[in-house]
Subunit: 277 residues, 4 copies
């Protein structure tokens, strides 16, 4: 729990508090200002890609983008300066995102199109949860995350099966529709169709035309109907499980101090002592 850190100068301490913490007024103000800046900068990147807007405001966008980039670069430098362990920060999730949020701008000087990668700045908006640090949302997010993480192994196995399935279906449809339908021009494209169908997205850019092809597709859809239930079942099961865990009493044993007893438990399940209350 305890961290040993080299003593910082008061300015650096203050800077650290403002930039990295969100529970002081100054820190909160800094974080909110940052979120507004990030949102504005993401909006500019998006609008820049819209042709008729870009033509009109090209200069404004260019200026704004560099203002944002300079500001974010200064912020990044200050973070490195004020953090206790610069290396740890730079290799952390947010540290990498912070760097990725400024790099494309500098790259765009040499490389046309690189500036669109600036949209990665959107990920910096995840900091919004830091402001709500002690709030309700973070706890909900954590419950969600835990359930998703617990489901990951099952979902990986499931996706592996789905991948094998779409390969077989794709090859089959290529054989059936291949020659007569320019949509099924190759097995990879037929696999793309199989994924579009099985996930019930159903663009309709590639559709079966022969009778056998339509019959097969209908079978695939009914299969997909049953299959789509599986990931839902997995996640739901985990969410209910973690709901129930949250329902478990927090009463601790007087002797061994361990928690996690059922509501109807009268004796500690770890040391056998009687529980109070």
């Amino acid at each position: 729990m305890k961290e040993t850190t080299k003593p910082f100068s008061p300015t650096r301490e203050k800077l650290h508090e403002i930039i990295f913490e969100a529970d002081t007024p100054a820190g909160k103000a800094f974080d909110i200002a940052l979120l507004i800046l990030i949102s504005a900068s993401v909006l500019v990147v998006m609008l820049e890609s819209v042709n008729y807007i870009q033509i009109k405001y090209a200069d404004l966008f260019w200026t704004l983008e560099w203002v944002f980039t300079v500001l974010f670069t200064i912020e990044y430098a200050l973070r490195i300066y004020s953090v206790y362990s610069p290396r740890k920060y730079m290799t952390s999730f947010f540290g990498v995102i912070d760097l990725l949020a400024i790099l494309p701008a500098y790259l765009s000087v040499f490389l046309v199109g690189a500036q669109y990668f600036l949209v990665v700045r959107a990920l910096r908006l995840l900091r919004v949860f830091r402001i709500l640090k002690l709030g309700y949302f973070l706890k909900e997010g954590e419950t969600l995350m835990r359930a998703v993480r617990a489901s990951l192994a099952k979902i990986t196995v499931f996706l592996f099966f789905v991948l094998l399935l779409v390969m077989i279906i794709g090859a089959l449809m290529y054989l059936v529709e291949g020659g007569r339908n320019e949509g099924f021009s190759s097995i990879p494209r037929s696999i793309y169709w199989a994924i579009v169908t099985l996930t019930t997205v159903g663009y309709g850019d590639i559709t079966p035309r022969t009778d056998i092809g339509q019959f097969l597709s209908a079978a695939v859809m009914l299969l997909g109907y049953a299959i789509i239930a599986v990931p839902t079942g997995i996640v739901t099961g985990e969410l209910i499980r973690s709901n129930q865990k949250a329902d478990i009493t927090t009463k601790a044993c007087r002797y061994c101090s361990r928690e996690g007893h059922d509501a109807d438990a009268r004796y500690c399940k770890f040391c056998g002592e009687e529980l109070e209350g």
Copy 2:
């Protein structure tokens, strides 16, 4: 539970009973008549928008619309007159809806097209639940509402993640397909495509054409496959929780003090003593 109200004249009292209550014969008849009127008026607004019907019955529709508007205006005035606290009513959910249900008609005199907002009258149909006040449906609706409300925080966090995700995916697809596919003409449009795909709606108005684009799309769909499970899991978890809460009484045994008895239990299942209540 008790409300202190200034004494009303018998006529106003009677009016209040008819308009605001649904358990007297007169009140019920009023509510049913109102629901029929609302349905008819919504139907007229809809049919008016169908070109070949509008051409034929323009005069009839015009007359009907003003009849409905005048009737609803009278009703609105009577509601304000007969309610104990006009201000409270006017700022309540149904009070605002009642006003919005007549305003567009008057606005349409000055503003072409405003009359289509009259479709908001459909929301007045929610009053149907008042007639079924004591019925089964309201309880079911409440259970649903409670579960949805309990899921709201989790779903908000989830939608925030989805929004960041579609921004990144949209920008990526714009880079990949942008120049070669007029569908992905800008990042906002690519984000629209990402939402259409991730939610498995899949219009097919914008579809990837390059090999990399189709590969990326397939990955997005499989991702969406796993992601669509999350809101379902959230709502299901909450519904099951509220089901369980509704199933278990909290009445405790007088002798052994244990709880968890079924609603139909007359004797304690742990010690055999008679249960009260």
Copy 3:
């Protein structure tokens, strides 16, 4: 439990056993033959609608259809003759279906196209569950049915909300896209689009073209994302509930003979007597 019936002649008794029961060899053979006939007759109706097949086999189809119709008519007559209460049978679910399965054939003499209603014969295939009478499938079907019936009230309330929602969304999209997009030519058509979108079917026959329209659609889809979770949650909740009910012990009280005790119950919850085992 007991039924008083007028005594039948042995022939009629035998006939009743063959036609209405499925646990004797003769009854089972009759039911299987019937199912094959029904399947064949449905197949003929379907193939008849395929133009190039119909041209080739018109005569064969005409003959087959009348053979099936005559056979089913005889069967219907025999059912009425051999059943204990003809009126009860004729107004039962299967009695009505049996009649509807022959009527369209006779109607088609006067009315062109009526023969396609013969596809209603497919519903007679539900008799397949009678053959599996004592089997596993029927129990599963019943569990499903009970869960769906228990969900019906909640789903009705839910569909009512969805209907109001698509009306508002439809009118809004008509106002936004109406003039510029022949797809959104009227409010009813816009409501059709809203249903296609909200249910994630997404044909793509009507798609938004304006920027505001696409923005609104994206919002509707994300909403639909959360909304689609609700019916799933309802049905899942009920299915889990009925699973749990099936888990409840079947041990009966020695004194009051009532069942439905929890697995951990030591005393009868209805009369307070000690439970055995």
Copy 4:
């Protein structure tokens, strides 16, 4: 549990260990090499179907395919040679797949197009789970499988209902749209449309055009909305059930004989006595 096998020569024993087991270094290396070969061979089959790649590398692909086929044939022969019971292996799931993985190559000498069936080799990738034999994934896969198997009866009943439903809906839509819409040209095609719609795939290759047709479709979609919930509910219910079973141990207390203790419990939660094992 014990198997009596004829004594093998040490070479054959060693071969068996390498080919059929995955827990020795040699066995693991063999399995990993095999998986890489299978993946490469599936990739070649896929790329071969892409026209512009095939034209360029036709010779390379031809060579590679025969190299893979010869290697897999040798492997198949070695498996038969080194296995204790060749007949048992050849009729097992993997034995059949192993044969199917080489047959199409030989068939392609006589039969054009047969080589695309080589994609069935992808199924051999299921061996990947053998390498992870003792791992976490296999257990997860088993839990999934058990839940899916337990759901099978319910899902079969459900799919039977859905099939009857799409037949009725298809015939109805054929009657409504048939003459005026070349998409609904026959009942089988209308059934294809009904399946595309009910499963929310929604290609949009066939869409209703008449007002009644669109109204009916909207009803079908709302129905599909409620219906899609059923398979999800079934699988979720089973998954939760098997989760719960996995969570609760069946060990009973020696003194009070009560069960239902958690897996990490060391003392009885009801009487406080130490639990065994």
